[in-house]
């Protein structure tokens, strides 16, 4: 039981990082990015490639993956998504447009990645030894991935809470219209948030690839999980995202160990259903008035 709890928390920590990336994109830039999982897989691919080709550790690869993902996502926002924001008459219209556009992006990315890397699974062996914690042993790579994910998440949280740039971002998340009135350049902040979100998610992908076998088409599964976490934690709520990710990690591990490993999505759906029925505003969200 204790073993399941720890394994689940380790997994949940990495989920938290991915979901924080999506939450930045949806909460601040108002883009429901359904290509988020593909960004994760691309990050994983990069780490895999760097490791097998040059024996560079995936952790060092983050130094390249994160800035690269930032630039790519920033460009995606500026070129593809900004025109949609401009032409949208309402938030609903923007949602439909951005869902369709990012679906298109997601399929195109899967198509390109399948074409470039083939449709097979890929994994590599890095830090595959065991580590003993409280009498049970855990895979070293999971523990390391969790620690780095926590570090990045903590840094992001501090940045959002205590810097002026972070404050601007939170202001846009609360209300783009009012943010504009106090002199915040909303399009620039949105593009920054979208790029940052992509960088965070791709870093999560590089970390996950250390212990998880990925393939070109697995992205949508992670998109799904990240979406469920974001909704569970509440849009724009970092604390909620972390708690929800840990809950999902534990629930999935529990179902995989005790019932059937093929039912992990069902576990996520049970949580999702509970949230939709009882707390659609998120775990810590206030009821809209």
């Amino acid at each position: 039981m204790f073993f399941i709890l720890i394994t689940g928390l380790l997994l949940g920590g990495t989920y938290a990082l991915i979901a924080m990336g999506l939450n930045l994109q949806y909460g601040v830039a108002r883009i429901m990015n359904l290509a988020n999982g593909e960004m994760l897989v691309a990050g994983g691919f990069a780490a895999f490639w760097v490791y097998t080709a040059g024996q560079v550790s995936p952790i060092a690869a983050l130094l390249v993956v994160a800035p690269l993902a930032f630039v790519v996502n920033w460009l995606i926002y500026r070129i593809m998504l900004r025109p949609l924001v401009k032409r949208a008459k309402s938030r609903g219209a923007l949602e439909v447009d951005s869902i369709l556009a990012t679906f298109g992006l997601s399929f195109a990315l899967v198509g390109i990645m399948t074409w470039a890397f083939g449709g097979g699974y890929f994994n590599y062996s890095y830090l595959s030894g065991r580590l003993d914690i409280f009498g049970s042993s855990y895979a070293q790579n999971r523990v390391v991935a969790f620690s780095i994910a926590s570090l990045i998440a903590a840094a992001l949280w501090l940045w959002l809470s205590y810097t002026r740039a972070g404050l601007r971002m939170r202001a846009v998340a609360v209300s783009p219209e009012s943010a504009r009135l106090v002199g915040i350049d909303v399009p620039a902040v949105s593009a920054l948030a979208f790029g940052l979100g992509g960088a965070v998610t791709a870093s999560g992908g590089a970390l996950i690839s250390m212990f998880f076998t990925l393939d070109a088409s697995v992205g949508v599964l992670f998109t799904m999980k990240a979406l469920i976490i974001v909704i569970m934690g509440g849009v724009g709520d970092i604390r909620g995202t972390i708690v929800a990710a840990l809950i999902l990690g534990v629930a999935e591990t529990f179902v995989a160990r005790v019932i059937d490993p093929g039912l992990t999505l069902a576990a996520a759906y049970v949580l999702f259903l509970g949230i939709l029925l009882f707390r659609p505003q998120g775990l810590f969200g206030k009821k809209p008035t």
Partner: protein, 308 residues
Amino acid sequence: MSMRDLRNLFLAALALGLVALLPLYDTGYILSIATTMAMFTVLATSWALFSGPTHYISLATAAFFGLGTFVTGLGFQTLPMWVLPIIAAGLGAVLAALVGLVTLRLSGVYFVIFTLGLAELVRQVVTWVQNRTGQRGMYVLTSITERDIYWQLIGMAALVFLVGWLIARSRLGFALRIIGNDETVAKHSGIDTAAAKVLLFMISGAVAAVVGAMMAPRYIYIEPSTAFAPILSFQVVIMALLGGTGRLWGPLAGVIPFTLLWEFISRNAPNQTLLLLGIAFLVIVYVLPGGFVGLYERLRHRFGSGGH
């Protein structure tokens, strides 16, 4: 009913009658493509009945479709064939009602996300049940030929067009158009928005399940990973949006070219079908908002022949 309605009804019936004659001309490759087109016509038109006016993007088609194929797969030996689509319709409507009751009272994003994973969820549960009971895939060996399936689908298409036509003229259709334009206004004018949306979603879910039940004999071998393949949901969405959901005939205008294109790509470059899906989505958003129907209406407006 005006003269114009009568004329349209007559023309539609005539066109349908002509289409139904196709198997007399060819029972090979052309019929096979025509059957696929008929299937997507029914699926995309019924999808557009719900998603067109409300702008709620449903990705659940594959879940309903898979449910239908399993009804046929499990029941074709013990029950008469004509009962199966009815059972499938019932189950599809129940599943749609459950999903709708949970998600449709909330904003559209929740609905999209929930339906996105629904096919995969049902697949996982069905696989799990099969593993528990030691069952694997099943063979659906019947005397039903592709020609029979084609006629069943044409009949279904006629039914869906008729239902869509009736809904558009009914109070329900009017309510849905108001919901699509502004949900707050709809609520304030006393429309039970959740009930209207759930009802329409049930119709569309039931139709997709019936199509699944009808198509099952074509696949011969049914297993969860093929029956619930999520790609079907996306194909339906693309075809409906490519054609345009503003008119009843819109999805049909998307189904025909896209089925041909899909057929061509999957024959010549089978690995590029996903790229095609992606590009099609992007084209719809950036080049053809409103689909072919939107384009047609813009052109008609520009050249003034429609009397706008």
